[in-house]
Symmetry: C2
């Protein structure tokens, strides 16, 4: 595909677009996501990212001041939509089990379908520094919503067990490991899908009647904003 | 503590031991584990590791030829003992649910109690290269043992669902994320412990009678070799 891109401030030029994405920012994010997840964050320079997009390094800085800013944008993209969905769900009238199932199914689906397995970057030590605090806060909010819905499910079952409340969120993030192993060529013949995760997220709480929940969750219409975990 | 260490081939010297460990190799592994998990693998040079141990870089190469060799040794240490326990368990006469519970409980306990959260390095892109193939094979073997026991539990329940077989292994590795979040200061008031993981690993398969399993698993005596996941 040949189109006019803005290779630098005020310097439009005719070039072959190397990365998918409607804007230069989207193309930079896609290139960075591939390099961070396949070469490592610390081994990836902004120069390498610029080369992969086909722009000069100076143009890249026009969109992102630092490499950390690129990673922050990518990581926030993995949480924003799931958090918006979770915010809707905590305020809906359906039984908690149906709402938690819907959240797990949506979130696992997103983590599985993103073009790059960005969740594999969640454990980077760099993420503990101050500049990643806004991302950590967003992910913590999502984790809180999961725990809130899980506690309601346990209430419905008459069970008091705080430690179990954290399990559904942990389960949803296991699709990151599943993808990583699968991409490394050590995948299973029967990979774990979003529905399996959603059911497991209820089972770990002690909920066993999955048929009714699955049917109700399928009729639940969620408002999705842009982005993608 | 002051003792005589071997700071280089044939060069014993009196020095203050900086890292815990009975041998120079153990001290190098401890220092590397801390640096890899807190500063990142790619940001850690063998020079930094040598400095943290208090030996010269040349001495370090006497124990490990490359930085990758150090990481391989650390990663293998996270799987070896669990695999030995799993190998015993697949051949024992107890019900599969009891054996799977025992494996989950042992393995989660190990992952939680190691001095450094080495599982956080499992998703490094570096691990996909050829030199990490032996580690990947060992971890895959452990994953197979989990799936084998899970399939036996499902058989006992009369359930056919291949996708569920992978869930117990995924659950045990979530303690890595739990530790990581807890170390980053975003921990829960009720962190997920080994027993919670062990019970959840049976619940995801559809097993609900946990009391009997917990009691039987507690009486099961396992042979542990050295090492530690």
């Amino acid at each position: 595909m040949v189109n006019v891109t803005n290779a630098g401030p005020g310097r439009p030029r005719l070039t072959k677009q190397r990365r998918p994405g409607p804007t230069a920012t989207a193309q930079i994010l896609d290139a960075a996501a591939e390099l961070f997840t396949t070469q490592g964050f610390s081994s990836t320079s902004t120069r390498k990212i610029a080369d992969a997009v086909g722009v000069r390094q100076a143009s890249l800085y026009h969109h992102f001041a630092t490499k950390d800013d690129i990673l922050v944008a990518l990581l926030e993209g993995t949480v924003t939509t799931a958090l918006a969905v979770a915010d809707q769900l905590v305020n809906r009238p359906e039984p908690a089990a149906v709402r938690l199932y819907a959240l797990l199914n949506f979130d696992a689906g997103q983590l599985l379908s993103g073009r790059w397995n960005l969740g594999a970057l969640y454990l980077l030590p760099e993420l503990r520094t101050e500049r990643y605090a806004p991302f950590r806060d967003e992910r913590q909010k999502l984790r809180d919503r999961y725990a809130q819905l899980a506690r309601l499910v346990l209430d419905d079952l008459g069970i008091v067990d705080d430690a179990r409340c954290g399990l559904p969120f942990r389960l949803v993030e296991t699709v990151i490991n599943e993808r990583s192993d699968s991409e490394a060529g050590t995948g299973d013949s029967a990979p774990i899908g979003a529905a399996t995760i959603a059911e497991a997220g209820l089972r770990v709480l002690g909920w066993t009647d999955l048929d009714a929940v699955r049917a109700s969750a399928a009729t639940l219409v969620l408002q999705e904003n842009n982005g993608g975990r």
